[in-house]
């Protein structure tokens, strides 16, 4: 079994003095190639920050981040990194350029990855995420919230990455589109052996998509558990137990 992603003793912080935030403290976990791993925990507990440290968006960190056996340093990521790892952001509004059409967003990403046959690929990608060609020349403000998120997913898939970091990929979507996107992600993982690291506050979604998950609280990982334990509501730590109980509506 090879390891797609290894995190060890990860600390991530922002600011200094009285505004210093230790957003992630001594976090560690491994995600095997082809595995789907979930991150859950309360709002502000550091889930997005872990993904942002991996992609170089959170600059101040220490510890070990290894992607497909290669150790990553600092905040610079080269093109090869983004060929391997892509991220779908929590906030589809902020992540799409307001003055670029869907077509521009996807074409530029494809040419950045030096992929040919751009025209056909754009159409394929739009089909894959359930939008279709009629959305191709729209601007972000002409799309609903869910439609924007699908464009963001299409952009992440454009470069055919091995590892996808998914930050609440379906929390802005209605349940029918959520089902379509989750099915798409399930099939892509099966077809291409993709690895997922997925943040969600929706435990049924994590239960559906992930093999294992980590529970976070106050920047720390309090527990790593298998999906079977999640389904049975069996958690070792008090905090995770409360979280499970609240979600199952007990």
């Amino acid at each position: 079994m090879s390891v797609a992603l290894r995190i060890e003793g990860l600390d991530v912080w922002f600011g200094d003095g009285r505004d210093r935030v230790d957003a992630v403290k001594e976090a560690g976990f491994e995600v095997a190639t082809g595995e789907s791993f979930g991150l859950v925990g309360e709002s502000g507990s550091g889930k997005s920050t872990i993904l942002r440290a991996i992609t170089g968006l959170a600059r101040d960190w220490s510890g070990l981040i290894e992607v497909e056996g290669k150790r990553i340093e600092g905040a610079r990521r080269d093109r090869a990194f983004f060929k391997t790892v892509q991220m779908v952001f929590q906030d589809p509004y902020a992540s799409l350029h307001p003055r670029h059409t869907v077509d521009q967003v996807l074409s530029e990403t494809l040419s950045l990855h030096k992929l040919g046959d751009v025209d056909a690929r754009v159409v394929r990608l739009l089909d894959d995420v359930g939008l279709g060609a009629k959305f191709r020349f729209r601007y972000p403000h002409q799309l609903s919230g869910g439609q924007r998120q699908r464009v963001a997913i299409a952009r992440a898939l454009a470069g055919e990455p091995d590892i996808l970091l998914l930050d609440e990929p379906t929390s802005a979507l209605d349940v029918s589109v959520q089902a379509e996107i989750l099915n798409l992600l399930t099939d892509l993982r099966a077809e291409h052996g993709l690895t997922y690291l997925m943040v969600s506050h929706d435990l049924p979604v994590i239960g559906h998509m992930c093999d294992r998950l980590a529970v976070m609280k106050d920047g720390r990982i309090v527990e790593v558990m298998g999906v079977e334990a999640l389904r049975r509501g069996e958690a070792r730590e008090d905090y995770s137990r409360d979280l499970l109980a609240a979600s199952v509506g007990a």
């Binding site: 922002f14 600011g15 009285r18 505004d19 935030v21 859950v40 925990g41 309360e42 709002s43 502000g44 997005s48 929590q90 906030d91 509004y93 902020a94 009629k134 020349f137 403000h141 002409q142 609903s144 919230g145 869910g146 439609q147 930050d167 609440e168 929390s171 802005a172 979507l173 209605d174 349940v175 029918s176 589109v177 959520q178 089902a179 379509e180 989750l182 099915n183 399930t186 506050h201 435990l203 049924p204 979604v205 239960g207 559906h208 999640l230 389904r231 409360d242 979280l243 609240a246 979600s247 199952v248 509506g249």
Partner: protein, 280 residues
């Protein structure tokens, strides 16, 4: 008592392929209650909310036989009068929370500015109230968050800041567009509790837009179910699980469940007849 009456609302966008109707003849009335609007992505939920406040950007067009608030048709008001309505009578929490905050202004300055606009008080008082409001939406380190810029808070924190701000003017009607989609269950409950108290204690009317059917059926009094710009079914929220429209049934069946693992989730098999006007 009816607070708001919407009659035959239409929202149209001219596009290259002709006029696209995002909302097609929606009618409903809102009392001192929690009214849910659910429906799939693109069904016109946000456009309905924005149209009430006349916040549809050109070239979009809003038409209606009436959008009546206290006997006045909002469509007849001047833009100045409309701004007053937005500031004092009807507040809206937008689906894109961080997008609606000013990115280059500290969170605290934005909350305090909104507070001072509606209250004659000192800056110190405004600051104290701002901290209280952040605490009310379960933000743990309000002092720091006041000094932070919008990009320095997490997704769920941004959503809660927006909710806190929208409650400042003490509105008669709150339109909340996916206000809790980024929140974990425990924080979600606290935020819902705040809105609930405003409905019960102050007689506010709440329009709660969400794609979370379970949440809406637990939290709201009535639910409108939208499809392709129309209301296809209206029901009591606690009867949502007994809804009969095949579209509503389809939505309910597409939820993942912890107790029933499966490889693929059910997806909607859309029937063109659902979108036809007159039929349902």
């Amino acid at each position: 008592m009816t607070l708001l009456e919407v009659e035959n609302l239409r929202v149209k966008f001219p596009t290259r392929q002709g006029v696209f109707e995002a909302v097609r003849g929606v009618s409903f009335s809102l009392g001192k209650e929690r009214l849910g609007i659910v429906g799939e992505s693109g069904s016109g939920k946000s456009m309905t909310g924005r149209a009430i406040l006349r916040l549809i950007r050109p070239p979009g067009i809003v038409e209606a036989d009436g959008i009546r608030l206290e006997g006045r048709n909002l469509l007849d008001l001047s833009e100045t009068a409309m701004r007053k309505v937005r500031g004092q009578k009807i507040s809206m929490v937008m689906q894109d929370p961080k997008f609606s905050l000013n990115p280059v202004m500290r969170v605290g300055d934005q909350i305090m500015e909104a507070y001072l606009l509606h209250n004659r008080s000192s800056k110190a008082e405004a600051r104290r109230r701002a901290i209280e409001m952040l605490e009310a939406v379960s933000i743990r380190d309000p002092e720091r968050v006041l000094r932070a810029y919008p990009h320095e808070v997490s997704g769920g924190m941004g959503q809660r800041i927006m909710i806190a701000m929208m409650l400042i003017p003490d509105p008669q009607i709150l339109i909340a567009d996916e206000p809790t989609s980024a929140l974990d269950v425990s924080v979600q409950r606290q935020v819902l509790g705040i809105m609930d108290r405003l409905v019960k204690d102050r007689g506010m009317g709440l329009i709660f837009i969400s794609h979370d059917l379970n949440l809406v059926s637990e939290f709201c009094d009535r639910v409108l179910i939208m499809y392709a710009g129309r209301v296809v079914e209206t029901c009591a929220a606690d009867k949502l699980h007994e809804a009969t429209h095949p579209y509503t049934r389809g939505l309910l069946n597409s939820l993942p469940r912890l107790d029933e693992p499966r490889r693929h989730l059910e997806v909607l098999q859309r029937d063109p007849a659902w979108a036809e006007e007159g039929g349902a």
